[in-house]
């Protein structure tokens, strides 16, 4: 089968996991990739655990079944580590990126995790600094891109601009871009 990068996003309703999946897809599309970004729908309640997914491929994507073995997992809310098996289906060489104040080693210990590669970033603090609100989804895109190395930072930023320039004011766009850049630089690895 064709080579497809698959990313799973874990968040809580209202944190923007679906939007994150879409912004990343938009950026990849502008780089010439074929893309899918889709949510897993359950009851939509603010604060409830939610999942969303991004597929990126050089070839057209025809598959429309759920993603079970993502190459990367992004966790927008560290409290989910106690509630959801975020590493489910993540292969041995898979990437886990968590929004937390902790170091990757702490996350590894907490999850009793073997293999995989763990990254952490304090995306909540970054979004408070850059946007005045704790919405960690856009900085997490920067962190995931750094960790997964799928796309260069400039592509992610231009994807974000194109997806939202009509929807948000200039200051909001600038704040988000700042947040993406900071997370890209500050993400910690093992």
């Amino acid at each position: 089968m064709a080579e497809i990068t698959e990313i799973r996003w874990h968040g809580r309703g209202g944190q923007g996991a679906v939007t994150a999946a879409k912004i990343l897809a938009q950026a990849a599309m502008e780089k010439g990739f074929h893309i899918q970004a889709f949510p897993e729908y359950g009851a939509e309640r603010r604060g409830a655990p939610v999942k969303s997914f991004t597929r990126i491929s050089k070839d057209p994507i025809t598959i429309h079944s759920p993603i079970h073995n993502p190459s990367a997992v992004a966790v927008l809310d560290a409290t989910l580590l106690d509630a959801v098996d975020v590493t489910e289906g993540l292969p041995e060489d898979g990437i886990l990126v968590v929004n937390t104040v902790d170091n990757p080693a702490d996350v590894r210990k907490k999850l009793n995790l073997k293999g995989r590669k763990v990254f952490t970033v304090d995306a909540t603090q970054i979004s408070i600094d850059c946007l005045g609100k704790p919405i960690p989804n856009t900085p997490m895109i920067g962190a995931v891109m750094r960790a997964a190395g799928t796309l260069p930072l400039e592509e992610v930023i231009s994807g974000f601009k194109h997806k939202f320039s009509a929807k948000f004011q200039k200051e909001v766009i600038e704040g988000n871009i700042k947040a993406i850049k900071r997370a890209y630089e500050e993400v910690k690895t093992e």
Partner: protein, 393 residues
């Protein structure tokens, strides 16, 4: 020039409607409506269309307003999903029986109860006998392009029937994909200016719509609906050919994927066909002659063409994403069996009911379908005619 955008199926079809720029769009604006109408309302607010938008208090009223507008002589559209379509039911029949060329995108979703908002085909399969043309889309790209083509098909003087264009709920409607969008001018040129055939608002040529019509003439008014459906077949092919010059993609009654020398074949509609393609490719790599027939047009049902495509096949599986309770399998299965029987073909067939209420159709489920077909070819026996895919028993 065409441009590629990241759009959900809902947004892609809203784009199509914006580019069609219908005279009237009537819709019920809250759930079970989808984001399709919301996106269209954005286009309206931005001044991209000069459509008269009528927000109504129910889906029954949405279809009623659309029928009224269409009879008056407007190019009228609406959109719905699931229980919304169920509530429209009465007027869905009236739209077709009045020969009103309404185009209605439908997001295929399960019917209650229990309450479920996810994908299956129960809503549109339930109204397969209403007299509407039904076109099913595999992905957002097809949903966009089928919507544009449906205008020309419905409005063709040999047809004059309403058309519903479906896409799989959530899987396509809420999933973002890369979609190539034509220029608005190209779409405008393709659909052309609407010239209503018997508008109510033409005092020089007065007409009535839907008067009393008992045993004396009702039957005679039904037969032309049958003929119009038959006529639609040629129009669908002609419009598809013309559209492919714009898009580069071919549109017929179905997509025959690796069918030419196939021995075992699965027939299905919509997004699951996309998931089946890589399964067929993998089987082919193993030397197994698998094929896929993705049906695009369910009404009118292209019986002869399907029989021709299945000529010489050794075993065929038909996948239905809706149950026809008490029937001999799903509706698609019954149609294919009937077509084969009437053509004197005795190909072993098997039915799979799947995907109800959003139950995923996984790669391994599709593999199971082809494995069963291989067993049928090996043993020459069909053990179970009706099967349930990915169901806990």
């Amino acid at each position: 020039m065409a441009k590629t955008l990241g759009l959900t199926g809902n947004e892609a079809v809203a784009y199509a409607i914006m580019q069609i720029n219908p005279d009237v769009m009537a819709a019920y604006p809250i759930t079970p409506q989808t984001a399709l109408v919301q996106k269209f309302a954005d286009f309206l607010a931005d001044g991209d269309v000069d459509t008269e938008m009528i927000l109504v208090e129910s889906e029954h009223s949405a279809m009623s307003a659309t029928v009224g507008a269409s009879a008056a002589g407007a190019r009228a559209m609406t959109a719905t999903a699931a229980n919304g379509l169920a509530l429209m039911w009465e007027i869905v029949y009236i739209a077709a029986s009045n020969r009103l060329p309404i185009v209605m995108p439908v997001i295929n979703r399960a019917l209650s109860a229990p309450i479920n908002i996810l994908c299956d085909h129960s809503d549109t399969m339930g109204c397969r006998d209403t007299g509407w043309i039904q076109i099913y889309s595999e992905n957002a790209q097809e949903a966009y392009e089928n919507t544009i083509q449906a205008v020309r098909i419905a409005e063709h003087p040999d047809v004059l029937l309403p058309a519903m264009v479906t896409q799989d709920g959530f899987i396509i409607s809420h999933g973002m994909e890369d979609v190539t969008i034509l220029e608005k001018e190209q779409v405008q040129k393709f659909v052309g200016e609407y010239k209503p055939h018997y508008p109510l608002l033409d005092p020089e040529h007065p007409v009535s719509y839907g008067p009393i019509d008992f045993h004396d003439f009702y039957f005679e008014h039904k037969k032309p609906q049958v003929d119009a459906m038959e006529n639609a077949k040629q129009v669908i092919l002609d419009v598809g050919r013309e559209f492919s010059k714009l898009s580069g993609r071919e549109y017929g009654f179905f997509d025959a994927y690796r069918m030419e020398d196939a021995e075992i074949v699965a027939i299905m509609m919509s997004s699951t066909a996309g998931t089946t393609r890589p399964v067929v490719d993998e089987l082919r790599r193993q030397g197994i002659k698998a094929g896929l027939l993705k049906l695009r047009v369910f009404r009118p049902f292209p019986a002869e063409e399907i029989v021709a495509a299945l000529q010489g096949k050794k075993a065929v599986a038909i996948l239905d994403r809706a149950i026809s309770f008490g029937a001999q399998g799903g509706a698609l299965f019954s149609e294919v069996c009937s077509a084969l029987y009437n053509a004197g073909q005795r190909i072993p067939v098997i039915n799979f009911l799947y995907g109800l209420g959003g139950r995923p159709a996984e790669i391994e489920n599709i593999q199971e379908v082809y494995q069963k077909l291989q067993r049928i070819v090996q043993t020459g026996k069909v053990d179970n005619l009706i099967n349930y895919l990915n169901l806990r028993e």
